[in-house]
């Protein structure tokens, strides 16, 4: 097995011992990125001139990684997988990128996403769809699909993503890897291309919970450039990750699990099995009910808030101070031509919907009601968190779908099972998806979500459960 496929701690030890060099790891990673690009299309840009870095005491030093192409990277093309930014080279780094630079981590590429991160399939990027390494006739999910595919395939040990609805935690499920988004504001949003500011989270994919803990530890911190970031110097996600979890309390949401039982028996039994593992670990698991109306309203709420904020956030894309500008006889024509050609049809539809929702005559009924429902959901979950350390749910309702599979976006299955992860973004709750098994040779996963700022606790529980489950990631299953 190549050192690149080992855990971050193991790679770090090997680097320290001189068994492998940063240069070798970076070269290996770049080679894999190229080798699998045709098959997976996970990268917008592969940084062939990526350099090795000095090895320090930081576990991430000298180790390659990839970042979603909506992280601002100084001097490196950053497109958000949209034609409108196909030539944009930022002049500043996202804070998270700066922090990883300081940790001597080696960025080897920028990964494909759904255009402007607005989607859950990773099929809408301007450089084409990302394919699932487990089965390339299936999608990997999104919007952080390129990063998920890159980690699932073993191109990089970890990769950065962003999560506004479930854009890390869903593709993690479809890719059989760990995907985490911590508490809102634990990681600065400075330099993350805004989709829906009140829901946007940064996070990462890794092959294991502990690897993810090291990555988030290095990304987090209060930042003068983000007023919603907060001081987390007392939080160490690695330190207590192996602590005994007996006595911890989790609940599962009855309505979601009932729907799983109705629609996917195999997945349901997998989930029940996981609950048994919890009990074996001494974790008490109880069933709790959340008003089904609230749960069914979650996805619509997400659509309303995210489309509305996105319309506004992306108003800066006019082609004038930056971006793929098109000609016109007056400034309005310039903007109209730039935006008509720069955005795909889907994005333009979302923007029209978002602006409709914000219109003076609709705002009260559509936007504000969505914000109200968001509060009701968050308050209900927060109330339950008073009695529990978190909740555990299936991360999706099924394995990754095939490309062009029709979905009924009004079905119970879709509303309850496929989109409940958005609750984690509503409340800014720390939330982690870990693989729980397989159905038809495709991975499935569970998700653990906890109270704000209790990120360490969630990592701890996820780590212990991960050990019980003993899932082997795809990239470790066959010879490279």
């Amino acid at each position: 097995m190549s050192y690149l496929d080992k855990s971050l701690e193991e790679i770090h030890a090997a680097l320290k011992d001189g068994k492998v060099t940063s240069k070798e790891l970076v070269e290996e990673s770049l080679k894999r990125a190229h080798d699998y690009q045709d098959e997976l299309n996970s990268f917008v840009t592969i940084l062939d001139d990526a350099k090795e870095k000095d090895i320090t005491d930081n576990v991430l030093s000298g180790i390659p990684y990839a970042a979603k192409d909506n992280y601002s990277t100084k001097g490196i093309l950053t497109t958000a997988s949209s034609n409108i930014l196909s030539n944009y080279v930022p002049v500043f780094d996202a804070t998270a990128i700066t922090k990883l630079k300081e940790a001597n981590a080696c960025l080897i590429g920028k990964t494909v996403l759904d255009e402007l991160a607005m989607g859950g399939t990773s099929t809408t990027g301007h450089t084409g769809p990302v394919k699932n390494p487990w089965d390339t006739s299936r999608l990997i999910g999104g919007s952080s699909g390129g990063s998920a595919a890159a980690v699932a395939k073993g191109i990089v040990p970890y990769a950065l993503g962003s999560d506004t609805g479930d854009s890390i935690r869903k593709p993690a499920c479809y890719g059989g890897i760990v995907g985490v988004k911590p508490t809102y504001g634990l990681i600065s949003r400075w330099g993350l291309f805004a989709f829906a500011s009140s829901l946007d989270h940064l996070g990462c994919f890794a092959k294991s919970v502990k690897d993810a803990a090291y990555v988030i530890n290095n990304m987090k911190g209060i930042d003068d450039n983000d007023m919603t970031s907060w001081d987390s110097s007392n939080i160490d996600l690695v330190k207590d990750i192996d602590k005994d979890v007996s006595g911890k309390k989790l609940f599962y949401i009855k309505e979601i699990v009932d729907e799983l039982k109705n629609s996917n028996q195999k997945y349901y039994y997998n989930f029940i099995n996981i609950l048994n593992y919890c009990k074996e670990l001494g974790i008490e698991v109880k069933e709790e009910s959340i008003d089904i109306k609230l749960l069914k309203g979650a996805y619509p709420t997400y659509m309303a808030i995210s489309c509305a904020e996105a319309t506004s956030n992306n108003s800066n894309l006019t082609g004038i101070p930056f971006g793929n500008k098109k000609d016109g006889d007056n400034p309005y024509e310039v903007m109209i031509n730039t935006r008509t050609e720069g955005f795909s049809e889907l994005i333009r539809r979302r923007f029209v919907i978002g602006s409709f929702i914000l219109q003076k005559e609709n705002q009260e009924k559509l936007f504000k009601n969505a914000q109200r429902l968001r509060r009701l959901i968050v308050e209900r979950v927060t109330e339950l968190f008073k009695k529990y350390d978190g909740y555990i749910v299936p991360a999706s309702g099924d394995i990754a779908p095939h490309f062009n599979e029709e979905i009924d976006r009004l079905s119970e299955k879709y509303l309850l099972l496929e989109n409940h992860l958005v609750i984690g973004d509503f409340g800014g709750f720390p939330s982690i998806t870990i693989p729980s098994g397989e159905i038809d040779n495709m991975p499935i996963a569970i998700n653990i979500t906890g109270p704000i700022m209790e990120d360490a606790k969630i990592f701890n529980i996820a780590k212990k459960l991960e050990e019980k489950i003993g899932f082997t990631p795809l990239s470790l299953r066959k010879e490279k």
Binding site: V91, S198, G297, A304, Y332, R348, L373, L376
Partner: protein, 100 residues
């Protein structure tokens, strides 16, 4: 709520500085129908109108910035992504009339 027609879709789109194409209306109408049904799901919650709208995931103390200059781009960096530049300024076709 206004009914969605081709005309007002185009009007909304133009206000957002882009055009919708002729063959895009059908998909849009379908999607919009779904969205409105979704919005109905929100409206069904009893007493929703009495809830305070939520903009921030949670309450948190904020630190304000002290009045110092900590960030300045070079002119070169500021305008290097603009397609048309003269005399260190960003060029657009002549602006007629005025907004703000």
């Amino acid at each position: 709520m206004k009914k969605i027609t081709k005309e007002n879709i185009q009007d909304y789109a133009l206000k957002l500085m882009f055009k919708m194409k002729e063959d895009e209306y059908d998909t849009f109408e379908k999607e919009f129908e779904t969205i409105l049904k979704h919005m109905d799901l929100i409206g069904q919650i009893d007493g929703i109108e009495n809830v305070e709208p939520m903009t921030f995931p949670f309450k948190k103390d904020v630190i304000l910035r002290e009045d110092v200059v900590t960030s300045t781009l070079t002119t070169e960096d500021a305008i290097k992504n603009a397609k048309d530049v003269i005399y260190d300024e960003v060029k657009v076709p002549r602006v007629v009339g005025g907004e703000e």
